[in-house]
Subunit: 339 residues, 2 copies
């Protein structure tokens, strides 16, 4: 299985997702600021993967501390730097909070022991994420029947997590049972996670995948070529509204209009019980150049005005079920979603 | 005003729309086969513009005929070559039929006179298209109020017609009345007509335009940032279903879900009274490379499977009104659409 991110000899190693599928380049970081920048620049992306990166970022930052008396101040600096990388994914904050709690619970350890304990915690986050995704796959796989086709958006796969994937984890689990499955991958402008990452990782495992522009999903639904829609989530509100990659709302509306099930697969740490509904989730607005250019090539007027929100909100009413590691949650989400 | 296509000294001159907005290159053709290829390669695109190109293609082909006895056979060859360039746009066939009728009605002329008559007819098609678009603008402009924002898809502008545009003709007419209007342009993958052409032509006239990815239209509607949706059409069935650029169906569904009006602006020669409903309109499937690449740069696995329909069908039930040069047509279209 593809390692999205790893801890290796006091370094964080990750595959540079901006370069896929053209080049498989691994980058190594020794400084938590580099990890923060890697998250900002989307060298690593996907809510669960960002969570894992944040854990390792904290571990890396602590490793550099030389005097115990600087611990709290340094930890606070590290925490705040990582916290402000990307605002939407719940898993980032969940992971930072978990690292903080671990630190507080282990203050009796020596600085050297504490550093090892924190590295261990970050490695646990990584390992548990893969286990979680396999459970999501286990619960979700019966939602995809033999011979069906699955439309997915962005990359909720191995690359968006520590491994195995959420939405693509469900696809993997169904495929591994021998079901004949066909995946349609939205290319997912502007960052092209579908074209670059989803196609690449499914092709590596010989899971049949067809690439389409984001404009084409509705056409395929109209023609009866899609059986189910399955995406990940970056944050889930208490009422079941989700934030996910821009364009998710569109395919959810199209699914409803065409009477197709729309499923969300995400670990329970994506749920934010402090957020009552979707409109309270902060939506990141990214650099206009992501829209004006593709891989450095300008596609439009160099200074045209651009609106580039990275996520949108899909209201709970469009979501047929949310699949977590604990099982399949159906509406009413307000009642049925649990931590 | 920008000349999309012109007849100049026994040649057809057109702006190469594949190169915009980076380069303003004009290409000249002396052979109808070149015109046919220009349509196929989308050097010129947009249903009304394709219609004008077909008229000039016929005129160009006839110009080369040296012996009167070859006329019928040659005309037939020219007609069939142009007819098979692109299957969806009604205007192509309408224009070819008109040229054929003109030929048949003028058989008494000498070959030299007939050639001039046919050139004249093609020029009439061009001139009438601009007049038609201005009438569409006149009828449609009251549908866009002061301070409103218009979402558009693809390019139904000057470049997609002989000039002035259909959907963008309505925008122009409203803007020229002094209304403060804001246009949101879907980039329109795969060919990026929105990013490349719509932004360019609106910016030239200082009509405020904001570029978005196709994934972003739904987000803006949810946020209340879109007032009306306005597109062109490539073919209109008798019942009011329309074929238009892939992705149009998606924004029509989103408009309905967000209680926004969805308008179609098109000349009456786009209506095909021989087609009862949308599902009978042939949908062109184009080269997978258009999706795999942007401007020659591969975005995905080089051999990934692709589905690339160039158009989709928007059922009449999503369309608030169709604006033609004759006025605003409201449902029921079966009853209210006239030739």
């Amino acid at each position: 299985m593809l390692p999205t991110i790893e801890w290796k000899k006091d370094r964080v190693v990750m595959i540079d997702q901006r370069k896929l599928p053209e080049e498989e380049v691994y980058v190594e970081f020794t400084d938590y600021n580099q990890v923060a920048e890697a998250v900002e620049k989307m060298i690593i992306r996907g809510a669960p993967a960002i969570g894992v990166a944040a854990g390792y970022g904290v571990a890396l930052g602590l490793l550099r501390i030389e005097k115990e008396e600087n611990l709290d101040e340094e930890f606070d600096r590290i925490y705040r730097r990582l916290e402000r990388t990307r605002p939407t994914a719940r898993n980032l904050f969940w992971s930072l909070e978990r690292m903080k709690k671990t630190l507080e619970e282990n203050k009796r350890l020596s600085l050297a022991q504490l550093k090892q304990r924190m590295i261990q915690e970050a490695m646990d986050i990584e390992r548990e994420d893969i286990e979680t995704n396999k459970k999501i796959g286990f619960w979700g796989k019966d939602l995809v029947k033999d011979g069906q086709s699955v439309l997915t958006h962005c990359n909720a796969g191995s690359l968006g997590t520590a491994g195995y994937g959420t939405a693509l984890g469900v696809v993997r689990a169904a495929f591994q049972e021998g079901k004949k499955i066909q995946v349609y991958a939205d290319e997912t402008r502007p960052f092209l996670q579908g074209a670059r990452l989803t196609c690449w990782e499914l092709d590596r495992e010989n899971i049949p995948v067809t690439l389409i522009t984001d404009n084409t999903a509705g056409f395929l639904m109209q023609k009866g070529m899609i059986s189910v829609v399955m995406t990940g989530a970056d944050r889930i509100a208490k009422n079941g509204d989700i934030a996910n990659k821009i364009g998710t709302y569109t395919i959810a509306v199209l699914a409803k209009e065409n009477n197709l099930p729309f499923y969300v697969a995400a670990p329970s740490n994506t749920i934010d019980f402090n957020v009552a509904e979707g409109k309270d989730i902060p939506i990141e607005e990214r650099d206009p150049q992501e829209v004006r250019e593709i891989r450095g090539r300008c596609l439009t007027l160099p200074r045209v005005r651009v609106k580039n929100p990275a996520f949108d909100i899909t209201p709970a009413k469009y979501i047929s079920a949310i699949i977590t590691e604990k099982g399949i949650v159906r509406p009413p989400y307000e009642k049925n979603l649990k931590g």
